[in-house]
Amino acid sequence: MSIVKNFDLYAPRLIDKVERLAAGHTACAGCGEALAARLVMKGLGGDAIVSCATGCLEITTSRYPTTAWEVPWIHVAFENAAAVASGVEAGIKALRRKGRIPDRDIKSVSMAGDGGTADIGLQALSGVMERGHDMFHVCFDNEAYMNTGIQRSSQTPFGAWSTTSPPGAVSFGQRTWKKNIPEIMVAHNVSYVATACPSYPLDLIRKVEKARKVEGPAYIHCLAVCPTGWRMDSSLTIKMGRLALETGIFSLYEVENGKYRITVDMPNPLRPVQDYLKLQGRFRHLTPDRIEEMQARVNLEIKKLMNKVDKLPSWPDLTE
């Protein structure tokens, strides 16, 4: 429950002014991912090393001989951002222990899109989280393989158009529902798992700061509104993130040692999903039947989430 209604109004005093993602990057106008990355860097600080997967963020920020990154940054391939970050973590750990670099805390972070996290990148992510490295992974979920031309991913919403799940005479678009990566991370015994959205910047930054402090693995799943791929006006990026929350399509929560907690309240009742869908061209083809199906599923997913919030105790509580 937000106590101070205009809490967000004092933003300049509450956010680190240092920009660690320089302008001049070639992200689309209004890119939610670029904004999310910029805000993540405000929570992360400079004592970090970022390992990035191939994707929109990587391509728009690292065209030789320039880079938008003001922190040490490495890109290797598409599916191994998390694995590379775990190598960075192991390297820094060994170098500190052997006295070859100053014994100062440097956080290793991997960043990838939904492809590099949930699909081609899932194995590396799973391995890293299981091994318990002191690092966290941020997924910038723009809900398709945007960089290669808006092809579907396992995070593409049900019913959405994409270039590989186009609606047509015998198809209505994406046929599957989002794979629940935060839940998969909780199943890996990750002690801090959170969802985030740049439309709620203070929530996002706080979660990044929290993930940074975890001595072990952490995971943040960040909604990255994509005006280009979602077929919407570039000025609506922030509004769309808010609507995602207000309709229940994307919830903002964190899971600390198994305890689920909503961090930004949803309105009660939720707004109808139609309010969100009608503003995006990727949903333009949907029939009322299909939208009803989506509404029912969103209601179910919210119930599933609230069930976890209400019923699951934290792991330490379970051991008593």
Binding site: P12, A23, G30, C31, P65, T66, S234
Partner: protein
């Protein structure tokens, strides 16, 4: 970009200058640009927070403006501005 010899490429193709994208002025992309009406501005800073380029800055009096070298004219700041102090104006 000027042609370089292979010997001039840094070893391992490393980019040694952080933030060097600043040399590329994405301001040339836009067709609309944000204009602040300071009489309406409440100095909340939300335009600064929400700019994907991070090119909105605050002056000594606390008012905000976009760095037109980088502003892509996405319109987020104008859309999100609480008191409606920002207007997107056509370039040209």
């Amino acid at each position: 970009m000027a042609a370089v010899t292979w010997q001039e490429i840094s070893q391992g193709n490393i980019v040694l200058t952080p933030g060097s994208t600043k040399g590329y002025h994405t301001g040339g992309w836009r067709s609309l640009r944000p204009v602040w009406d300071n009489s309406k501005c409440i100095k909340c800073g939300i335009c600064y927070v929400y700019c994907p380029e991070g090119c909105v800055s605050q002056d000594e009096d606390g008012y905000f403006m976009a760095d037109l070298d980088y502003c892509k004219g996405c319109g987020i700041c104008a859309h999100e501005c609480w008191p409606g102090a920002i207007e997107m104006v056509e370039e040209g």
